[in-house]
Structure formats: C-alpha cells, structure tokens
Amino acid sequence: MAQATQQTDANADESGPVDLSESSVRELLAGGTFALPYLLIAGTFLFGPLLLALYMSFHDWNALDPAQSQFIGLENYRVLLSDPDFWNALRNTVYFVVLTVPPIVIGSLFLALGVNRDVKGKWLLRTIFFSPYVLTVAVVGLLWTEIFSASGLVPYYVGGGNWLTDHQLAMPAIAIATIWWQLAFNFIILLAARQNVSDRLYEAAKLDGASTWRMMRDITIPQMQNPLIFVVIVTFVGSFQVFGQPFIMTDGGPSFSTTTIVLYLYDTAFTGRQFGYAAAVGYVLFMILIAVSATSYYFLGGDNR
C-alpha cells in the first residue's frame, strides 16, 4: 500500500521545488500547518529527550543545577559495566524475560488457534482471554499480591508460603501475574492473523490427507510468520521493560531478587538523583532492545517472505 502512494507522490514532489506557483506555496503552508502541532509536541517530548538523554549520559549530571554538569565522556558507561547492581538487575530481567516470553507467545498462539476452531461460546472465550488487557498494572499488581500473599489462594492451594517474600518464588509469582495480564494483546493479534489465513489451503491439505500437526507446521505457522514475529518482538521488548509489577508487588525485593533494569533505572534517577547515570542505563537498555529485536527478526526469518 505504501509503495503505491509513494509512486504517485514522486512526481508531485519533484515538481515541487521548481514550480513555486501560488498554489504550491499554499499547499506547503497548509501541509505545514496541519503537521505542526504533532511535530512541535513530538520534538519536545519524543525526539528532543532522546538526544538529551544521550547528552546526559556523557555527563556527571547535576540535578539541582544542570549548568554545573561535568562532561565525563564514557565514564557513566564504564562504571555501569562494572556495577554489580546493574548486572544483578540485568540478570533478573533476563530471568523474567525467560519466564514470560515463551508462555505468553505459545499460550496466546494455542488459545488463538483453539478459539478459531468450531467451538461453542467463541465470543465468551474471546472476551475472557482478552479482558485483562483493559486492566491497569496497579490493579494487576495488587490483585496478584493478594493471591500470592501468605493468606492468599496460591500458597493455600499450591503451597510455598508468601511467594513474594521468598527469594526463589518472588520472580515466578511476578511472571505468572504478567502472563495472565499480557497474554490478551498477543491473543487478539494472533487470532486476527489466523483468520486471515485462507481456508482453501486447509481444504487442499485435507484432501491430501495431511494430519493436524502437519497442517499446523506447514500451513498455519508459515502463513502467520509475520504476525508471530511481531508478537515475539513486542513481548520481548515489553518484558525487558517490566516495571510496574515488581514495583508494586515486591519493590524489587526480597534482597533485590526482583529488581529489574527499569526498576534500577527508576531508583538511580528518582531516589539517587543520578540522572546522568540513569540516562546511561536507559541507553544500554535501548541497545539491548535493538539487538534483541534484530536477532529475533533474523532468526525467525523475517526477511524470507
């Protein structure tokens, strides 16, 4: 779609600078006026800050008087790489990613394929699986805090005491709450993707006597490749940035076992007032996210379509 309009636009764009007639000036003015509010706001609160963060990360930032900030080059990044707290936060985050991404992706795929089948009460099932999407992280966090607390449902029926004060169980508890909450978005995306796969492919495969698994492997998965890549990357990026759940459920504890990178960034910035250092942490996370996205895209064969 994008291609088509770009083709037709090309002529207009080329003739633009040459033909400075009254109408094209008016066109430029109108275009600029309609685009201006967005560009101003995005410049101030999106692109500007991105550059400011980079600038800050090279400084020993003085929170009270920014003019007093000292340029220190890559010092923040150097300190960061030898900071055990950062590595602990990174380790915790990776653990959280490992605990959440596969269940969310595989779970939402199975639910989407299941609901797509000829089952009774599709509408009800879809509503139930999608509903956590509209909850705020505050509700999710508090609700599951109660469920995992000493007198809550999970310790009573599953065991383990208060999961959130247990070293081993705190992160899995946060992961379970997150899976329940985040499955919804991916479920809807994959359900839509599955509905876009042509039924004819399955009819043909059935005539050839293909098994259900075979059809899933050779038709469903390849046909849904792009949405699946999207879901994987979005889930990865989302999980790497987890903040609200540990902030509310454990505040990073017990003994920093659930301190994630963003929680660490938040603490260094807003408790420790180390803005420059926090900006560096942000940029390192940004780099990690780009690397992870690019790697998943590459390994899932995003270009083969």
């Binding site: 633009g16 685009a35 500007g48 400011l52 639910l111 926090a278």
Partner: protein
Amino acid sequence: MSVESRGLFDEVSLSNTRLRTIALYVGLYGTAALFLIPYWYMFATSFMTRDLVYAEVPYLIPWDLTLYWYEYLLTNSLIVQWTVNTVILAGITTAVVILVDAMIAYSLTRLEWPGRRAIFAVIVASFMVPGIVNLVPVYIIVSELGLVNSVWGVVLPSAANPLGVFMLVQFFKDIPEELEEAARLDGFSRLRIFTHIVLPLMRSALAALGLFIFIWTWNAFVWPLLIFQSDAMYTLPIGLVTLQDNLGVTEPGVIMTSAVVASVPLLLVFLVMQRHLVRAVEMQGTTK
C-alpha cells in the same frame, strides 16, 4: 496435549476426532476458568466481612456479605476525586491525541509538500523507541516547563502518538480522492474539507484509536506517578498503590475493593465497545 492418552482411550473406542474435540473444550474452558479466578477473588473479597477476609482459609464464596469496604473507601480515601481526575485526564488526552494525530495524518496523506515522506519514516521509526529511555529527560523537560503536578505534564508527553499516526495514515489513504476534489471545486477550504468530509468519514477508525488511547491513559502508571505529587491530583492507579502504603497495614478488603472500583468502569466500557478495541489492537498487529 492428548498424545499420551490417545492409545488408552482408543480402546474405549472413542474416535480420534471426538477425543480431540473433548481435549479442545477442556483446554479452552479450563484455561478460561483459570483466567476468571483472579476476577472472582477480587469481587468476592470486596463483599466479604472482615471475619471472612482474615480467615485462615482464603474463601472464594462470600456467604457473609457486606458493603463495609465500599463505605470505608468512600469515607476514608479520595477515591471519588481520583476517579474524576482519571476520567478528566483520559478524556483530555484522548481528545488531544486524536486531533493532533488526525491532523498530521491528513497532512501526510492528502497534502503535497516536500519532505513529508521523510517525516513519516521518522515517525514510524519512533515507535520503536522504548518509553523508558526517555523517562529521565522527559521528566527534566517537564519540570523545566513547570508542568510537574499539572495535568498537562501527563497529557503533553503522550500527545504525539506515533502509533496513532501510523494507524490513521493507513485509513486516510483509503478515502477516495474524488470526494475531496469535488469539495474543493465547491470552494471548500482545507480546514473545512478536513472537519466536514475527512473526519466524519473516519469515524470508526477514530473511535477505535480513541478507545485505545482512553484505556491506555486511564491505566497509565509511570508518568502520573512521577508527575502528580499531591493526593488530590492522583489518578486511580496511583491512588490505589499509595492507599496500600498510607493505610499502614495492608487491608485486603480495602485493596480488593479499590481494585474493583478502578477496573469496573473499564471492564464495562470494554464489554460494550469490544469490537472497536479489538479493531484498534488488530491495527497494531498490522503495523509491521
């Protein structure tokens, strides 16, 4: 899932497809039941008497009902104020995002000016930027502008929504040019074409985007947490979390009841407008 049991059940002469259907139903409805337990627990606890809430056994059925926690919340917290704040904040943000995003989307698709394709590319690229990188610098900019503890401190940083621009551009492209040309021949100005022809045609896409932004702002956590520094300014999500700290002891009855108050409006909106929300989410899936 059913691989192991297949052999076993074959002897009882259940056909394979039959068995699979059963497994499908058990799997789907079983998962659905698991999904509903947290909601049920939340609602049930909010109506339980103190004795039941603090019982050794976590009861799922409140056989002794009370509205005590609701009354308690109404009299001991600013929950009404927080709800009003949240509605206002979400309303303003939704209106601003729709207006600003629709304007630039219109400009990018319908008006011809040099550089617009480059700008569109930058906007598309910008939704890859994780919000967290901008947390510290945006906070600094917001406080430099004197917007800490003001509604605009939360509205403006989320007002330029790249996802919204992308979604709307896809839709604007599909509006037939002829309509616009006819209007232009009739002497309509650009502004009039935009407000009288383009926007009305886009109603359903705008509704989907608006609903998405509304829910998203209602639920926003990090920004309101940083920007609002007085009880009276809090939104529901922030209020809930501070409630837990302010009360000293964690009162499960209060927490669950406040969670109900914060989520019921959205769950109702969701049930009524599910179609639009599903559409908004699907549009995001097609962005790549």
